[in-house]
């Protein structure tokens, strides 16, 4: 774990939507590993590296809340942006259309605070100019400067994540001394296998979840 980083992320709201309950959204109890990966990638990612999430620390108690939001029922169909680009036409998506808009309830989390421990590995896209030290430096520099490619969010774009580098010890979790079964949780999407979702049995020990790497026997077996 020579190239490990520790990133603290927090925010007022978070919704780590469960795949089975994503219409009337219900959040997982804690951040999923793929969401953690998404936050890291929002700050720094290149085809040459792949992030691997080692640990997720849950610092604050898990509090659920209910929110009703106006959402839409459709997505922009794929051909629309293609033709818009080709014909130089404006692309529009009518959000306030009564047939498109709908109210949906969400059971989400309040006042979350996590520390993500992760490292990255070089992929086969890495060229001779890529090395671990370089990307680690870039990441750390970007975090300290508050830079990102797109705003990291806590599960939904409406819930932006604040972030900072943890340089010393990880703060003590609310759940120290407790073990909690969180059931099966989404680990990640296997993009090499036709976007197959992978699940793992999540267990929180002392407020820490250690997801298995996506190719381990625990996931495949």
């Amino acid at each position: 774990m020579a190239f490990g980083i520790k990133l603290r992320v927090w925010g007022d709201y978070a919704c780590w939507t469960r795949p089975e309950m994503k219409v009337e959204r219900v959040s997982y109890d804690v951040m999923t590993p793929s969401a953690a990966r998404g936050i890291l990638e929002a700050i720094h990612w290149k085809p040459a590296i792949r992030w691997v999430v080692d640990k997720i620390h849950v610092l604050k108690p898990i509090i659920f809340d209910n929110v009703r939001r106006n959402e839409v029922s459709s997505k922009i169909p794929k051909p629309n942006p293609v033709t818009a680009m080709r014909d130089k036409k404006p692309l529009y998506f009518l959000v306030d259309d009564g047939n498109n808009r709908q109210q949906r309830a969400a059971t989400l989390l309040r006042h979350v605070d996590y520390v993500i421990e992760a490292h990255f590995v070089l992929t086969d896209k890495a060229g001779p100019e890529d090395n671990e030290g370089k990307h680690l430096d870039i990441f750390n520099r970007r975090v300290r400067a508050g830079q990102f490619f797109h705003q990291p969010c806590l599960g939904c774009r409406e819930f932006p994540a604040s972030f900072e580098l943890v340089e010393g010890e990880v703060p003590v979790s609310f759940y120290v001394g407790q073990t909690r079964e969180l059931g099966y949780m989404l680990l990640d999407i296997d993009f090499s296998q036709g976007m197959t979702p992978l699940f793992f049995k999540a267990e929180m020990k002392d407020g820490i979840i250690e997801p298995p790497p996506p190719w381990s026997a625990e996931v495949r077996a």
Partner: protein, 583 residues
């Protein structure tokens, strides 16, 4: 976690043969009649299976080979179905029943082509010789055709116990048939974690949620393009797991279930990880019947008393085991609150706790609500629905703000703070109706204690010195003085000023005090009330001496405390009077 816990409940119940939980491959359906056949397949009678409840007759719930999902088109069920399929006729005499009758016959041939079971042979014989055109006349000889024509029918073999669809050989062929259909995508199930299990295409709708569509709603659904991520328009739930969780939830939601409560627009179901007596009486804890209700049925009265004892124990912080010895407090307990949203179900809240922890939360709720009762008929443990009605215009259940209902129920069962809107809503009702009732005072008290950590006493506290409480007491004294001086007025100062006096005491009290001087002056002129005038003057003086000036405005929390002071002082007047009459 929700689906996992429901799956666990199903497995717990299926292990108990008396639970009536249907095994995989079956579903619980409403069946009204059984056709009695002899071994050749001749109709020998029609048995009415319906159960009477009062004057109405309800079809019997029965486990039958799982129903197909019929939206449009013709699809038959195995060994049972509507009259249109089984008899080829129903009330509307159209040709649409011909293909239905044929489909039912064809499915029998397809599944049991070479089956020699006498029950199956009888049904096949019946189908071969049956004339749909004469259905009405033949059935009328046994049972009224209008009733049979619209109902679901099963078969029974004459002189043999049980129904034909329950015969083991037929259950076997049905299971083989179900397994054969599983050519679905193989996935990792997110409920059990098993790999390469057949994917559930459609999840059985959940019925019995108040306000939902009668055909049921879905927890898991992907009915529009916006809900699809990574091209997956189905949740990765195995067929058997999907069956287990929907069946378990439907069982919890059935009519007359003891594990279901309806509050406002939500339906709460609850269950324990292992069998636990709390499952039987939690609904009574949340909506306790008053003890002095007419003891019509002795058993019910006994239960009510027992619940009352239990409530008193948990309110004072004692453990429930002292009252219910066979209670295991360490068992995990689940609460799931559902609310309908179009054809889908939204999860209002989901709470996991131990039995002991849950009872403790309920106890704290009642402890914080506890306030001196206005009338002896007021319930000692106010049921949730009566509390909620106090927040609604005209006291009607349909006017209860849904978010408030959910929030209060959640606060009671999980120990979370009461909704922020509770206090303004209750104050608004008091302003509109000029009534500080027992329930409203209790709600304000609980809110101030839990959300604001204020100290609010259960009953009248003359030593208390904070201004809002004193102002509330003062207003009660002024009102009483007016009542004595001018009995039978149409509108007392309470009716005119209860709203404004709590919000702007600085403006209103000076005028009220001037009026009160007139009232006591009038009392002094009546010889028998002279003493009263003196005591009111003294009370007003004592209260006013305790603070410096009248505040221009008061926050809603202070207004809440004002109402408590008013309620306590007023209650105190009447308590004293009772003592005088007794002595």
């Amino acid at each position: 976690m929700i689906l996992q816990a429901l799956h666990g409940y199903y497995e717990r119940m299926i292990a108990d043969p008396d639970s009536g939980m249907p095994p995989y491959g079956t579903s619980i359906e409403n069946i009204s009649f059984a056709l009695i056949l002899d071994t050749e397949g001749n109709l020998r009678g029609v048995e009415d299976l319906r159960e009477t409840d009062g004057k109405k007759r309800f079809p019997r719930k029965m486990a039958v080979p799982a129903a197909v999902t019929r939206t449009s088109g013709v699809k038959a069920n195995f060994l049972w179905d509507k009259a249109a399929y089984v008899l080829g006729a129903d009330k509307n005499e159209t040709n649409t029943n011909v293909p239905r009758f044929a489909a039912f016959k064809e499915l029998l041939h397809e599944i049991g082509a070479d089956l020699a079971d006498p029950g199956f042979v009888a049904i096949r014989g019946f189908m071969e010789s049956w004339e749909p055109d004469e259905a009405e006349t033949i059935i009328n000889a046994y049972s009224p055709w209008e009733e049979v024509a619209g109902a679901n029918l099963v078969f029974r073999l004459d002189g043999v116990r049980g129904f034909i669809h329950d015969r083991p050989p037929l259950q076997n062929v049905w299971r083989t048939h179900c397994a054969k259909l599983d050519e679905a995508l193989k996935v990792q199930c997110l409920i059990t974690g098993e790999h390469d299990v057949p994917l559930a295409r459609v999840h059985t709708p959940i019925k019995g949620v108040v306000g939902g569509q009668t055909s049921g709603g879905y927890i898991v659904s992907f009915n529009a393009s916006a809900f699809v991520s990574y091209g997956r328009d189905k949740a990765d739930v195995g067929e058997t797991s999907a069956f287990a969780y929907t069946t378990a939830l439907n069982a919890l939601l059935t009519r007359g279930s003891r594990q279901k409560i309806t509050i406002g627009d939500m339906t709460i179901v609850f269950w324990a990880e292992r069998s636990n007596p709390v499952e039987d009486f939690l609904a009574d804890l949340i909506d306790p019947a008053p003890v002095d209700a007419l003891p019509q049925i002795q058993i019910d009265y006994q239960t009510t008393l027992k619940i009352h004892d239990l409530l008193q124990a948990i309110r004072s912080g004692k453990r429930a085991v002292d009252i219910v010895p066979d209670l295991d407090e360490s068992v995990r307990f689940y609460l799931l609150a559902l609310a309908p949203n179009a054809s889908r179900l939204a999860i209002r809240f989901w709470e996991t706790n131990t039995v002991g922890g849950l009872l403790q939360k309920v106890g704290i709720h009642f402890q914080q609500l506890e306030i001196v009762r206005q009338f002896d008929s007021d319930p000692e443990f106010p049921p949730l629905w009566r509390l909620l009605r106090q927040t609604a215009p005209l006291g009607k259940s349909e006017n209860i703000p849904p978010v408030l209902a959910g929030g209060i129920a959640k606060a009671m069962l999980t120990g979370s703070p009461y909704p922020q809107s509770l206090l303004p809503t209750v104050l608004g009702r008091i302003r509109a109706e000029h009534q500080v009732t027992y329930f409203r005072a209790a709600l304000i008290k609980a809110f101030l204690i839990r959300n604001k950590q204020w100290e609010v006493p259960v009953s009248f506290d003359p030593a208390r010195t904070d201004r809002p409480y004193l102002l509330g007491r003062l207003f009660a004294v002024l009102e009483k003085a007016q009542e004595e001086a001018v009995p039978g007025t149409n509108a007392t100062i309470k009716d005119r000023y209860l709203g404004s006096v709590s919000a702007n005491p600085g403006q209103v009290f000076h005028m009220l005090l001037k009026n009160a001087a007139n009232h006591t002056a009038k009392l002094r002129k009546e010889p028998e009330k002279k003493g009263l005038a003196f005591s009111y003057d003294k009370m007003i003086q004592d209260i006013i001496d305790a603070f410096d000036d009248f505040p221009a405005t008061m926050s809603s929390e202070e207004q809440g405390l004002f109402m408590i002071g008013y309620y306590h002082q007023r209650k105190d007047f009447f308590t004293k009077k009772n003592k005088e009459t007794q002595s």
